[in-house]
């Protein structure tokens, strides 16, 4: 038994923090949003650094309890858990650094800088329409695909879009789906408590095997519900424009197919149209949505219907229950 490895990990983490501090110092720019994000992240680094000092003291205490083997191992393991959390924070901060770097790289070009400023402004105005907390820092960064990265402990949220879409503002409606993920993260418990039992009830009607029901409930809770709610948030902000751009971006020849985290496009479209109908959307809006979907769907060969565990009844019920989330 030796504390050597723990000290080795702590030293390694400390040098990573020093590097990240330097990276962030370089990344800090005249741009207010980037600068604010860097400040919040530097604060995270300082917190980790302080906590590492505490871990060092605990490591130094370990030799005094070496004879009490169980107590020694318990503390040793607890320190390791804690250090692993710091390691994960550092990975996350590296990811954020990469995103900031790409953002700053794009901002070197006058045209892209203007588009990024507009995209920032656009997501801020959407966030306002969602009644999300005003101290949230939401920042747009280019990345390979539409995605989001929450850093909720520092009230920051990065939404990403492909660099090729920066100069195509009509596709920015897809950022509203990413804000939907933010909405879900904020109200996660409430949404799960309200909707997951209803999903389970529907599943029991169509899936006989109890283990399978549990498995599907878990997938709904982990992935599919979040995606459907994010689509509903997006359509509540952008209407048919969101469905239209989703069809473009998804480029989906098999709309009934389930791909891991994402429900089939058929289910996503159904959820959006059902939700909008329930809200009492104007007939014209509904007609456009239905036409947008029909024009695409009627051209696709696939005849498969949605799988039982993601069937139309479940999707409609999710849409109905989401309607009563008053923040939308």
């Amino acid at each position: 038994m030796s504390e050597r490895h723990l000290f080795g990990i702590i030293d390694d983490l400390r040098s990573d923090i020093a590097s990240l501090k330097e990276f962030f110092r370089i990344a800090r720019s005249g741009d207010l949003k980037t600068s604010e994000l860097v400040s919040r992240l530097e604060y995270v680094l300082s917190e980790v650094e302080s906590d590492l000092d505490l871990r060092v003291r605990l490591c130094k205490y370990l030799p005094s309890i070496k004879r009490r083997r169980v107590a020694y191992k318990e503390l040793y393991t607890r320190i390791l858990f804690n250090l692993r959390q710091h390691r994960q924070s550092i990975y996350l901060l590296y990811m954020v650094y990469e995103l900031i770097s790409l953002r700053e790289k794009a901002r070197e070009n006058v045209t892209y800088r203007r588009f990024l400023d507009l995209a920032d402004k656009y997501v801020d105005s959407l966030t306002e329409a969602l009644n999300m907390p005003t101290d949230l820092l939401i920042i747009v960064a280019p990345q390979s695909e539409y995605a989001s990265l929450p850093i909720l402990s520092k009230r920051a949220f990065i939404v990403m879009l492909p660099p090729t879409n920066l100069a195509k503002p009509w596709k920015w409606v897809l950022l509203s789906h990413e804000l939907g993920h933010l909405y879900f993260q904020y109200y996660r418990e409430r949404i799960l408590i309200r909707i997951l039992p209803a999903i389970e009830e529907e599943l029991r009607d169509v899936v006989r095997d109890e283990e399978q029901v549990k498995g599907y409930v878990s997938l709904w809770g982990e992935y599919w519900l979040q995606e459907i709610v994010s689509d509903i948030v997006a359509v509540s902000l952008c209407g048919p424009a969101y469905l239209k751009m989703l069809i473009t971006e998804a480029t989906e020849p098999k709309p009934a197919q389930v791909y891991g985290a994402h429900p089939p496009l058929d289910a996503r479209a159904l959820a959006q149209m059902t939700y909008m109908k329930f809200t009492g959307a104007p007939d014209e809006l509904m007609l456009i949505m239905e036409r947008v979907w029909r024009e695409f769907r009627n051209g696709v060969l696939e005849m498969d219907s949605l799988p039982d565990y993601l069937n139309e009844e479940i999707v409609r019920r999710v849409s109905w229950l989401t309607l009563f989330e008053s923040h939308l």
Binding site: S236, L237, A241, T279
Partner: protein, 48 residues
């Protein structure tokens, strides 16, 4: 029961969005919530 439902932004703003779709160049940057979906729906990709 319906009183508990807050109308989605797009439902409230639908008439304004239609106006933007008809005359995008007159709209200022403050109306990005309308301009962006209007561009997507109308396939008119200029004016920003």
């Amino acid at each position: 029961m319906v009183d508990f439902i807050r109308k989605p932004f797009i439902v409230i703003a639908w008439d304004d969005l239609k106006k933007v779709m008809k005359s995008p160049p007159k709209v200022k940057e403050e109306d990005l919530r309308l301009i962006i979906p209007a561009m997507a729906l109308s396939d008119v990709h200029t004016g920003l």
